[in-house]
């Protein structure tokens, strides 16, 4: 940017008391969306995955209904392969907020022992998460599910609505999505239809991090750099979280200072080498980084529109 514009930069944003910052607006918008969705729902629930976006969502939910308790349970569609630290964090967080926590395991996956090591990340994710989510929505008859997806995550998400209508078969059909004007969301459903609601649609990764920083929202410590036992596979750093990870002959975990940019099932989530052990340093690293966030997810590498396909199948 040129010098002149940099000059105006220092003069321009003279902040008057009557102007909100972008984060204040994003927060107010998300709270508005949550209250609308709850008001038009019969059985709402919030998907909770212990990640940073989930943590922001939970904070927003607490704020939206304060001093009442958020009027919905947290739903974790588990895969059995999350990091142990994530499970501990989940249970502690739900207890702290006095929220009901529903953990669902797809019984078919338990029976067939579906896991990422033998079955690959695509099948593992599809069976545990995509199918598991449908099961729990049907079983509990949830009509509104809050999710923490953001439009900046992937190209096809840029067009996703805040209120996303799913057919009774959980299908997402681009043609059936409703126009969203002003702050007016139409949460009405036909029989069997459900709505996925994304209150932080307009947040970027930076917004999420900055909000966590400002609000001092607790996070799973996996986001912070620490010495952890690591093996390197095809260039991906895998943290050995428990003894279910079968080590290849000759593979010896070594201690390396790593952290995660995104949290998933530990055998398919790559760590990055980093010394960032505070939020500002994480943000700094992210801003100076050269690759986009989702690269750490092995699950996303199968083609350009894989996310879109998953969405049509009913995945988040």
């Amino acid at each position: 940017m040129t010098e002149e514009i940099w000059m105006t930069a220092t003069e321009a944003p003279a902040l008057t008391a009557s102007r909100l910052t972008h984060l204040q607006r994003l927060e107010a918008e998300a709270i508005h969306i949550m209250r609308e969705a709850v008001s038009e729902a019969e059985r709402p629930a919030m998907l909770y995955s212990m990640g940073k976006d989930s943590s922001v969502m939970l904070r927003l939910a607490v704020k939206a209904f304060h001093p009442s308790t958020a009027p919905f349970p947290l739903v974790h569609v588990d895969t059995m392969w999350k990091f142990q630290a994530m499970y501990a964090f989940r249970d502690a967080t739900a207890a702290e907020h006095g929220l009901e926590l529903i953990v669902h395991h797809n019984p078919e996956c338990i029976e067939k022992n579906i896991n990422p090591i033998d079955h690959g990340s695509a099948l593992h994710t599809d069976m545990w998460k995509t199918e598991g989510l449908k099961q729990i929505v049907d079983e509990r008859k949830f009509d509104v599910m809050f999710g923490g997806a953001r439009r900046d995550e992937e190209k096809s998400r840029a067009k996703e609505r805040v209120f996303s209508i799913r057919s009774p078969q959980h299908q997402w059909d681009p043609k059936r999505q409703r126009p969203e004007l002003w702050q007016l969301y139409n949460g009405r459903r036909n029989k069997g239809e459900t709505v996925r609601v994304f209150p932080i649609s307009n947040w970027t990764e930076l917004d999420v991090w900055q909000y966590i920083h400002l609000e001092q929202i607790p996070l799973v410590d996996l986001y912070f750099a620490k010495a952890r036992p690591v093996v390197e596979r095809d260039g991906t750093l895998i943290v050995v979280d428990d003894d279910r990870l079968r080590l290849e002959p000759g593979e010896v975990p070594e201690m390396r200072t790593v952290r995660f940019r995104t949290l998933g099932c530990y055998p398919i989530t790559g760590a990055i080498e980093s010394t960032a052990d505070t939020l500002p340093r994480i943000i700094q690293e992210m801003l100076l980084a050269t690759t986009s966030e989702r690269q750490g997810r092995v699950a996303d590498h199968d083609g350009i529109s894989s996310l879109e396909k998953k969405k049509q199948e009913g995945h988040f």
């Binding site: 940017m1 040129t2 002149e4 514009i5 940099w6 105006t8 321009a12 944003p13 009557s18 102007r19 909100l20 910052t21 972008h22 204040q24 607006r25 107010a28 918008e29 709270i31 508005h32 609308e36 008001s39 704020k63 939206a64 209904f65 001093p67 009442s68 900046d152 190209k155 096809s156 840029a158 067009k159 681009p174 059936r176 409703r178 126009p179 969203e180 004007l181 002003w182 702050q183 007016l184 139409n186 459903r189 239809e193 649609s201 307009n202 970027t204 930076l206 900055q210 500002p280 943000i283 700094q284 801003l287 100076l288 980084a289 050269t290 690759t291 986009s292 690269q295 529109s305 879109e308």
Partner: protein, 638 residues
């Protein structure tokens, strides 16, 4: 990081992240929309903005290089437009067909871009994107100048009340950065802008492709002294007047954690509020005083437009979701009939008189829309006569709600004057509207100057008309059930009429016998009479054997979808014959009656009757209740 963005920022991030975060924390938010015809360079422009503000990561950039070589339109150069394509089907067609939202950040602001297509049939998308925008960028191809599409986009921008407009004259590189070209487009557009009431218009000569005047003032346009595009976007005032307006907060949710706390949660859409301010709750008109402004981060001394808060009042007054809390000095108006612009957004055309739902603020009410007073040709701005509004059409209509609501004119406040129209049957959002003013007679229940039509009669009668068509064998119980249904409806104040063999055969159809041709004519007349009575607003009960599907179909088609309720009185022939109240079966058996249904003439049972009752297993009373329930369901659906 990729991109040619500010090295100053990069240095700040690297050297002092805490300072950077502090700076970033106080950024404001600006939402804008880009409008242009296909190929004007919209995608290139947005891609360029993302690139310049270094939102393009290296992995994306690598993909972009590959894609540019494969499908790009720029030879070997980077084709920024490829950064934006979303859904794969659209990607294959080479057009974007929906509203997509993009994000980028500079030193001063965070930006949300609504990217909407310029394609003819997508008024819907543009209106959607414009509804939340603070600024509109209208792209003009320098070689083509102001086109029909440019006018259309500008009209929509003015209709949706966007205060700041940038006319980005793009592809200046292809006109040798000619000042004359720029000036003549500016002149032509200025005239037009004045006609449609656009106030703040800024013209910027650009090349989205080459980057001229996007971030840095271009050496190629020394004659231009205005802001660069980004410079403009970073400094234009946002929502400057919203907080100065009258206080408005729609109640979203009543917050009652326990008996000692009763708060009203909502997002402030106008003005500001402090504890001690007096307020008025509309439509009831109750007044009270703000006690506290509660948030999880502590009570506030003041809250302003844009914030989501919970307000408690000093009095125990009744307010619920859908109410509007206003400053007591300047409350909103309350009315139930309005003139409004309606933008139709669905393939099924608007049906004047049909009951829809309208959501405004946090309130959803029943509504009917009159025939358009006129439709706007968005290309010429001419007013055209119209009986309905099709997808992507815009018209001015009267709208009548089933109860009074608080509102402001859309021009004053988008959030208390903008509404969506929802179809009651499918729950889909089918239209959007902008309230202008309440009709003067609004406090009467009826429209006085609309044509007296079926909808008007339905309003007067307080119910929708319908045909309840009872079909079944002779002696099945049709007339008995129809009688009970009619008495019950009558007792509810519903206007009814019963058509049966007796009152029709002896008068209107006295000239008809029982030949095939006469039977058809008999049904045709009954169907026509029923349709007239429906138009007159009645619930018509028709009790006829009507054995043939084709004739019942004819009767169904004589009225509108949803107005016909077919009741199949499904009584086994032996039961009916046993009852034989008029001795007709006996006669037919004796051969004294020819073509008697069930004996020597077939009865074709309905395949998808709305109601089926069997009088051999239920009483006539129960059967009548079944029919009334169906009528009730239908009333709830439409």
């Amino acid at each position: 990081m990729a991109g040619s963005g500010s090295t100053t920022t990069q240095a700040l991030i690297a050297e002092n992240i805490d300072d950077y975060l502090t700076q970033h924390q106080y950024k404001s938010l600006l939402r804008f929309i880009t409008c242009g015809s296909v190929d004007d360079g919209k995608s290139t422009l947005i891609g360029r903005l993302l690139y310049e503000t270094h939102l393009v990561f290296e992995d994306h950039l690598a993909a972009l290089e590959v894609d540019s070589a494969k499908v790009g339109t720029q030879g070997g150069d980077l084709d920024f437009a490829l950064l934006l394509d979303g859904l794969s089907a659209e990607r294959e067609q080479g057009i974007t067909i929906d509203v997509a939202y993009r994000f980028f950040t500079t030193e001063h602001r965070k930006f949300i871009v609504a990217d909407t297509p310029g394609h003819e049939q997508y008024t819907r998308n543009m209106v959607t994107g414009a509804s939340t925008a603070d600024v509109a960028i209208i792209l003009v191809d320098a070689r083509k100048g102001v086109l029909t599409q440019t006018r259309r986009h500008s009209y929509l921008v003015s209709l949706l009340g966007i205060k700041h407009v940038v006319v980005a004259i793009n592809k200046m590189d292809l006109t040798d950065y000619s000042h004359e070209v720029f000036s003549s487009i500016q002149e032509e557009y200025t005239d037009f802008a004045a006609r449609i009431g656009l106030e703040h218009v800024t013209f910027i000569p650009l090349s989205a492709l080459r980057g001229d005047n996007i971030v840095e003032a271009s050496a190629n346009t020394p004659w231009y002294h205005g802001p660069t595009l980004l410079g403009f976007l970073e400094t234009v005032p946002v929502d400057d007047d919203l907080a100065e307006q009258s206080f408005r907060m729609p109640v979203q949710w009543v917050n009652r954690p326990n008996l000692d706390f009763r708060g009203f949660s909502g997002r402030i859409v106008g003005g500001s509020i402090k504890p001690g301010d007096s307020i008025r709750v509309l439509p009831a008109g109750t007044t009270s005083t703000v006690d506290r402004i509660v948030t999880m981060d502590g009570d506030l001394d003041e809250a302003i437009a844009g914030q989501s808060v919970t307000i408690t009042l000093t009095d125990e007054i009744d307010a619920s979701r859908g109410d509007l809390i206003c400053g007591s000095d300047d409350p909103a108006e309350v009315a139930d009939q309005f003139e409004a612009h309606i933008v139709w957004m669905h393939e099924d055309a608007m049906l004047p008189g049909r009951p829809y739902l309208v959501k405004i603020g946090t309130r959803t009410v029943g509504a009917t829309i009159s025939q358009p007073k006129y439709r706007v040709d968005i290309n010429t701005l001419d007013h055209l006569a119209a009986t309905t509004l099709e997808l992507n059409e815009i018209g001015v209509c009267n709208i009548s709600l089933d109860r009074p609501i608080p509102f402001d004119a859309y021009d004053t406040n988008r959030d208390t004057g903008g509404f969506i129209v929802i179809d009651k049957l499918t729950n889909v959002t089918v239209g959007a509207g902008l309230l202008h003013f309440a009709l003067r007679r609004s406090h009467n229940i009826h429209w006085q100057d609309v044509k007296v039509d079926k909808a008007a009669r339905a309003v007067l009668n307080n119910h929708e008309p319908a045909v309840i068509w009872f079909t079944g064998l002779s002696g099945s119980g049709k007339s008995t059930i129809a009688d009970i249904v009619e008495s019950k409806l009558h007792a509810q104040g519903v206007r009814t009429y019963l058509l049966d063999g007796d009152n029709v055969r002896h008068g209107l159809n006295r000239d008809l016998g029982f030949t095939d041709a006469d039977r058809v004519e008999n049904i045709r007349r009954i169907a026509e009479v029923a349709a007239l009575m429906v138009d007159a607003g009645l619930i018509v009960l028709v009790s006829f054997i009507s054995p043939f599907r084709a004739e019942r179909r004819l009767a169904r088609d004589a009225v509108e979808v949803g107005e016909f309720i077919e009741v199949y009185v499904d009584t086994p022939i032996d039961v009916a014959e046993q009852r034989d109240p008029k001795g007709l079966y006996a006669k037919a058996r004796r051969g004294e009656l020819a073509n008697f249904t069930g004996i020597d003439s077939p009865y074709e049972p309905p395949e998808s009757a709305e109601v089926r009752v069997d009088t051999s297993t239920m009483t006539a009373e129960q059967a009548a209740d079944e029919v009334l329930r169906a009528l009730q369901d239908r009333a709830e659906k439409i």
